[in-house]
Symmetry: C2
Subunit: 315 residues, 2 copies
Amino acid sequence: MIIPTVDDMLAAHDRIRPHVHETPVLTSRYLDALTGANLFFKCENLQKAGAFKARGASNAVFGLSDEQAQKGVATHSSGNHGTCLSYAAGRRGIPCTVVMPRTAPQAKKDAVKGYGGRVVECEPSTSSREAVFAEVVAETGAEFVHPYNDPRVIAGQGTCSRELMGQVDGLDAVIAPIGGGGMVSGTCLTLSNLAPHVEIYAAEPEQADDAYRSFKAGHIIADDAPVTVADGLKVPLKDLTWHFVSNHVTDILTASEDEIIDAMHLIWKRMKIVMEPSSAVPLATILKNPDVFRGKRVGVIITGGNVDLDRLPWQ
Amino acid sequence: MIIPTVDDMLAAHDRIRPHVHETPVLTSRYLDALTGANLFFKCENLQKAGAFKARGASNAVFGLSDEQAQKGVATHSSGNHGTCLSYAAGRRGIPCTVVMPRTAPQAKKDAVKGYGGRVVECEPSTSSREAVFAEVVAETGAEFVHPYNDPRVIAGQGTCSRELMGQVDGLDAVIAPIGGGGMVSGTCLTLSNLAPHVEIYAAEPEQADDAYRSFKAGHIIADDAPVTVADGLKVPLKDLTWHFVSNHVTDILTASEDEIIDAMHLIWKRMKIVMEPSSAVPLATILKNPDVFRGKRVGVIITGGNVDLDRLPWQ
């Protein structure tokens, strides 16, 4: 297991800067009044390819030697990592293959293809995904870029909270959704080194709460094929993300499906931004745990905006 | 008829600065590639109260003498002006009455009430709206702030393009939706004085094309109760806005209902912002008239984001 360092994160930031946006931070007096906190929404839904994963994917793709790069890259992803790896590979002009659950939103499959990537479908379970993926790698010799359990990816995701620190002074806490733990691990990598006093919260759907149960148990607990509207958060922790989560996360909070959908509708209505259900889990947990956040300056990572507009969860 | 001057616009900018956002400008490589132009989206959907009309309403409300202010303000509005006048009146702590069509989106009626304003309903026609409004003014003695045919409002709306000039260099053109012509008149006021070389385009629904027909005819032509998904654009030009439109607008372009809805869906999907159908009319006309805009740096005013999320037009 190779644990990325803060220098890896700083190098990643220099490497990816030509390929990603410094995303804006939005605020809402209405939501501040509702929560009693000062919320600073880091809008990675406005990131290239519509998600923070453009950071980690770009760091992995542009860090490859020309020799490695010519065989291309491959991954398995419930959505945004695949889209973002396809985006990064397209920027470098190398092949990209993405194994996706057949049940993934059509919008996400189209997005992978839109950036030039190839989609190979699997069943909507971690076990099926890993089996199909093994065949793809055997056949292409492509470089595997794991969606989150990869030091290059975690170093790339860590650039998001480094940006946020430069945009907002005096943060007391940062909260991000947790699935496999890539964004949370990158946040831990950056903040534990550059701002160790800042609390780090992870937000997870009750119906996919394997990270929550792992955190309480002190070891990784993996679910197979959980069901939640937050389709980006179904995957389990792995050894590298567990390292960061178990050592640096302050707490993991959970929210119900209805609480997630209500928070998503609230953000769309009041902040006028399009973001996906996974990105609403942090606000849902803040609304559910006001005492934890009241009076604090809280960075809230809006992780992505790739939602199927023709199938919104409140309809 | 009192025609506002560029000094009125500059004074308005100083007056309203504490009460409105300097809204961000967003870009999209995808939409630039699709149109062959460089588009700079001025995001007034992220403005206070969700629309550019917070500018004109704030200028009118905060320009009142204390004596005038105590009787409050009143207006008729198909939506955003009423919401924004209620917002501005609430900031100053004075009463606000808004006459709205009973058919206006519930979200817009709730928004007026949410800022403390009173809603009085009328039939969805210009004639009914003006009759009911006369009763309201007679009974309250409130100061009438017209949604657009008011020099204070036009001077306030003009601050939007002044901001845009500071955010984007070398604009060749600016395009905004046109209903009554308040935003277009403010744009004309600012650009004709501060950047007279910049072309000014107005975008209108085919099914509410009274401004287009007025522009071609050389005199005001008013429709009563046109039907379009762009519900902010149903009202007719008046003498003051006609003055600016007839003297300074380069051309008026129109789009069909389907073209407006497709452009709205495209902006939501690619730019990840929530905006209302009226705000999609400019992109719809740019897509329909590529030769007019190809190779130009174009400011596109996204006028508002107050849409009923439970009744989206593509559903």
